[in-house]
Amino acid sequence: MSDGTRERVLVAMSGGVDSSVAAALLKEQGHDLVGVTMHLWDASGEDKVGRCCAPEDRDDARRTCEALGIPHYVIDEREAFRETVVDPFVRAYREGTTPSPCVACNQEVKLGRLATLADSLACARIATGHYARLERSDDGTPLLRRGVDRNKDQSYFLHGVAPSILRRMIFPLGALEKHETRAHGQRLAVPNWQKKDSQELCFVPDGDIGGFVDRRSTERGEARVPGGVMRTADGEAIGAHEGVHHYTVGQRRGLGLGGGPVRYVLKILPDSAEVIVGSDRDLLGDTVEIEGAHWLGPRPTTPFEADVQVRYRHTAARAVVTPSERGFVARFFTPQRALAPGQASVVYVGDRVIGGGTMRRASMSSPTNEPRGEAP
């Protein structure tokens, strides 16, 4: 019972190794835990192989909770997930951008809905298996820092989580390397400690995003995304494509251009159904415009230097960040490759997340900055 002697902690259990070990570590530390698995998506048809939210994952979560001797509940968040993650994801691809669904999910569904549930279940704190670290500034502001395992670091996905929720979070894996997590899993006899990591987007387990967007569009009674022309930056038509949703800026594979020079998607123009391709060098940009920004502390008002990460697997690069009312502009010291509108851009000072938002536009403002070599 919630008699106030021990804070009750809600721990989000996906059925994977990370959340299972996070729960086991908290249990070892003596916390009063409640395990919750969110059911987010029912895969159907070809998505069924290795699908997310599969009954096996729920069973793994349940088994872990049984082993730890903690209660476990499955909460149905399919509607919230569809409305705040999947539908916007499909819309974004149809509009020729590259969304960051994991950012939306963490912000709105995973942590947003969990916080409400935690209130209902009298859980003061919320724990997840994210690789990120939390500290507190002197004034109580939560400081979100990168996970120690830079290869697993998930702070990028968490930048939009409201500080009121971050303040309640516990990330037991933040200081661990992945192999240490597994070692703890083995030491604590977590039933699924050897389970394979999931790699693809959870609701597109086969990785075929174009096919997924097509299927969802059909299910929702939306027109197929029209095919169109693939052009070079000079306007020369060099091929056809089956819809802008099959492409993302920086993409090299699957362009169907046959031989010739290596080409990349430079730009996607949904209104005219054009995909612009070009060389690696043309992929460079040094300026990104961000909208819908979240700041973990007070909103900055003057330009400052920081490191900006433009996608999950990007090494944050030095930039001058100029905040505006609702967003910011980041101008990189060195041009960056493949700046894809729709993706989250996250601002770091050292390994601390300051804020972030959604990239609206990318450009090359000063091509002369770039040390030009001959194209190979």
């Binding site: 019972m1 919630s2 409640v34 059911h39 209660p71 209902s120 279940l121 009298a122």
Partner: protein, 376 residues
């Protein structure tokens, strides 16, 4: 923490005498009851004793009792077995709030070509009168398939009056799983009806149920195998589970005597829930003593079930679903179509002969604590 069990409509605790009888049956009646030898005869003797007890409780002949592996199997066998192989000429009359064991079976008949009418059979029977006046009933076969008591709200259905309105020769199947032990058997048994019961609702184990179906009525078996149960239900019966069922059937008189006391506890609980803002579902017509189904505005039923569980109170949100997902309750939705929120926010509190006054006090205190978390 002292646990309070208020989910007797899902399963009742095993009667101590039934548990003893099961242990005895495991020692003495473990053999195959169809075997010709001494050990087989011992098992058979126990099984037949259980059959006589079930028959006695239903005022039927032992030869008319088909022992099944639970209530759902009995319900399926009743509906599909009476309907037979050819169903194109069959008109099925059922209620709009059946348990899935019956609802899915009538859906299956519709899929195979039967005409199925799902009516609201709790209030006025005028729609039924209009339906059976149609000319089709002079030629078609007619099957009534209804529950005597709603598993979710405890609402009773006047099966006797309904059956009296049916065309001559109509078959009647009654799902009495939620009625047995709560209403006297003359409310749901007639010599030419088929009646399903479930052990888990009357203090026996979940592995035993029975279908009363007179020998004169053809039943198409659902399982293929040996000639057990007069060829109506293949498979070696679980002697221990049925021994418990027989014992629980012999104790039904005592159970029925407790209903007025339980009704007082239920009414006290219900009054407290209403005072806390709850709205009672299905209270417009007669109900059995053991249950109150209450909706709390702004709460999801799965959250309330989890929150109460953590406070030591076991309740459920309706018919148990293996995955734990919370779609709206079809029963509450059918009873209150103008207020869809009720079916998203309903919780079933069901009492039993073990329920004490202190249980009610603890339950009221717990739900008061839980609801306060969202106050204001």
């Amino acid at each position: 923490m002292r646990r309070v069990y208020l989910d007797h409509h899902a399963a009742t605790p095993l009667l101590p005498a039934a548990r003893d009888a099961m242990l005895r049956a495991h020692e003495l009646g473990w053999a195959n009851a169809s075997s010709a030898h001494h050990e087989g005869r011992a098992a058979r003797a126990m099984l037949e004793d259980a059959r006589r007890a079930v028959a006695g409780a239903l005022g039927a002949s032992a030869a008319d009792i088909v022992l099944t592996g639970g209530g759902t199997e009995a319900g399926n066998l009743g509906v599909l077995g009476l309907a037979g192989e050819q169903v194109e000429d069959l008109v099925v009359i059922t209620s709009s709030i059946e348990h899935p064991a019956v609802e899915r079976a009538t859906n299956e008949l519709a899929r195979r070509g039967a005409t199925v009418h799902a009516l609201d059979l709790h209030g006025s029977l005028a729609p039924l009168r209009d339906l059976v006046a149609r000319p089709i009933f002079s030629t078609a076969r007619c099957l009534l398939a209804v529950q005597a008591v709603s598993h979710e709200t405890g609402s009773t259905i006047d099966v006797v009056s309904i059956a009296s309105m049916l065309p001559k020769g109509a078959s009647v199947f009654v799902d009495a799983s939620a009625a047995l032990g709560k209403l006297s058997a003359d409310r749901f048994v007639r010599h030419d009806w088929a009646v399903a019961i479930a052990g888990a609702k009357i203090g026996a184990s979940a592995g035993a149920g029975a279908l009363l179906v007179p020998r004169s009525i053809d039943v198409t078996p659902r399982q293929l195998g040996g000639a057990h149960e007069r060829g109506r239900r293949a498979g070696t019966p679980d002697v221990a589970a049925h021994t418990a069922l027989g014992l629980a059937c012999r104790a039904l008189g005592t159970r029925l005597q407790q209903m007025p006391r339980i009704a007082v506890q239920r009414d006290r609980l219900e009054a407290a829930l209403v005072a806390l803002g709850g709205v009672v579902n299905g209270a417009e017509t007669e109900r059995v003593a053991t249950v109150t189904n209450v909706s709390f505005h702004g709460w999801r039923k799965s959250t309330l079930v989890a929150a109460l569980d953590l406070e030591g109170i076991a309740v459920s949100a309706g018919a148990a679903c293996s995955s734990g997902l919370d779609g709206p309750s079809p029963v509450v939705r059918a009873l209150h179509p103008d207020e869809p929120w009720r079916s998203e926010s309903c919780v079933r509190f069901s009492l039993g002969i073990e329920t004490s006054d202190e249980d009610i006090d603890l339950a009221v205190a717990a739900i008061t604590r839980v609801l306060a978390r969202r106050a204001g």
